[in-house]
Amino acid sequence: MSLRDSAIVAYAETKVMKKSDRDVWVLAGEILEALLDKTGFDKAEIDGLAMSGLTGTGGASMFWAQSTCDMLGLEVGFCEQVHTGGCSAVGAVARAAAAIDAGMCEVALCLYADTHVREHNGRNDRNYRRDWTDPYGLLGPPGAFGLLQRAYDAKFGVDLHALGKLAVTQRNHALMNELACEELRVPITVEDYLNSRMIADPIRLLDCVMLADGAAGLIVTSRKRAKEKGLKSVIPIGYAERTNFLGGENLVDVTRSGHEIAGTKALKTAGLTVKDVRSFHPYDDFLIALVIQFEAFGFCEPGQGMAFVRDTDLSYKGTLPLNTGGGQISAGQAACSSHNLIEAVRQLMGEAGERQVRDTTNALVTGIGWINYGRNWGTSAALALVPGE
């Protein structure tokens, strides 16, 4: 019994919209409908819901997942609202698989629906910010990543052309992704990156994700059930997460993150080494986070991330395809930040069309969740996927 006894048997995704023209539950309903059609499951067979709590539309509700069951007419034995920030997408898969493994449900819907641009219902965060950073006008994630990127620069050096290459590589992928946000499907150059306006120096506009609306979802069931139904599948063979890495220490190296631990554990469980990874779908809220993850997972040594980017073909046909749907930075930060996960599943099912990667032996997806005080991020997650038989 383990996570790998479960299988992702279908994915669905709406187009990413700069601002949704319809209600968040309409989008959720479209995802449910698409997943039922794809799998042939009857609605009554869905007995689990794992929903991302990373939602501006629903996040202030303590009853978001239950309300959604009610709206969609779902009766479930496992109802979960995942609260690990940007790790909630992969976290929902792991929790659904664990629930299936524990006998709490058999067919789980992982649902990522959010319209935080159209309807943001506020947030009730209770954390350090009101006393310790809000009084100084430190602008949320861009401010925090401004501090982080300058600290990285002081320690290892930032190559703006390498960051520009990441921006262009992901943008080129979004150009091939008809579900990416239309406003972002415009070609860019490294010069465009360099010339984009400063938001939180050294963070430029093209370093950042843009909030957008949309929904996505997955059906997770037992591998046995997937086989019985003859469904195409993707298997979660390794997962780990780490919250509050080095949280019991004061002065920490901000270029290190919990991905050191989560990555090692997820890959070990999967029986893989980082050299085996065939496509990489890391959480991208800011470009520097990609560089730090290359280092944390061991694609290169600490401090060599910029050189690794310069020396590696990260396009969908390259040696290490990176966020082949455009990543969040070029597709839009929609659907509870599930974009990179959905893309990895699509790739392993061989359904990525003109941006299909050649080698679908496996894929590695990551999460980054929440911003801590003067460090990097609160939760780090890693999910290794392989195609089912």
Binding site: Y128, R130, D131, W132, T133, D134, P135, Y136, G137, L138, L139, G140, P142, G143, G146, L147, L148, R150, A151, A154, R197, M198, I199, A200, D201, P202, I203, G247, G248, E249, N250, L251, V254, Y373, G374
Partner: protein, 145 residues
């Protein structure tokens, strides 16, 4: 990049405190920088917590006044601020490593953009708040060796 840094001293602030952090704010009334200290680990910690982050115990915490001298660990220049800060940009916010081994984030005043560097020595600048407390900012410590 020739930019002129602004300060955010006159932004209206209504800061809500957690009760376990009140000794910090009470200290600011006399322009004293009070930082939590774990008697068991013999280390400081910031921001204030309800327990020692080293031992997990509330009883291990005490408060100590520190000099407030430190060096800039990192900084960012906000070119776009939250609503209350709009119109003040660009302004700098720095994470400073105090000589007692904690990082403390605050705004920067009295410093030209070209002088602002990692490793720069800083000291406190206390801006009065309406309630008698002061808000800590960083300013260059030009007397520091």
């Amino acid at each position: 990049m020739a930019i002129t840094l602004h300060d955010t001293l006159d932004v209206k602030r209504d800061i809500k405190h957690y009760d376990f952090g009140l000794p910090f704010w009470d200290g600011t009334r006399q322009k004293k920088l009070m930082i939590q200290y774990c008697k068991v680990a013999k280390k400081f910690q910031h921001f204030p917590r309800p327990v020692s982050i080293f031992t997990g115990r509330r009883r291990d915490i005490e408060w100590r006044e520190v000099s407030g001298k430190g060096t800039i660990f990192s900084f960012t220049i906000a070119h776009r601020g939250p609503p209350a800060f709009q119109g003040k940009e660009p302004y700098a916010v720095a994470s400073v490593t105090l000589d007692v081994g904690v990082n403390l984030i605050a705004g920067v005043v009295n410093c030209a953009a070209e002088d602002l560097t990692i490793g720069m020595k800083v000291k406190p600048y206390w801006q009065p708040l309406d309630n008698g407390e002061h808000l800590l900012f960083w300013q260059p410590d030009r007397d520091a060796a």
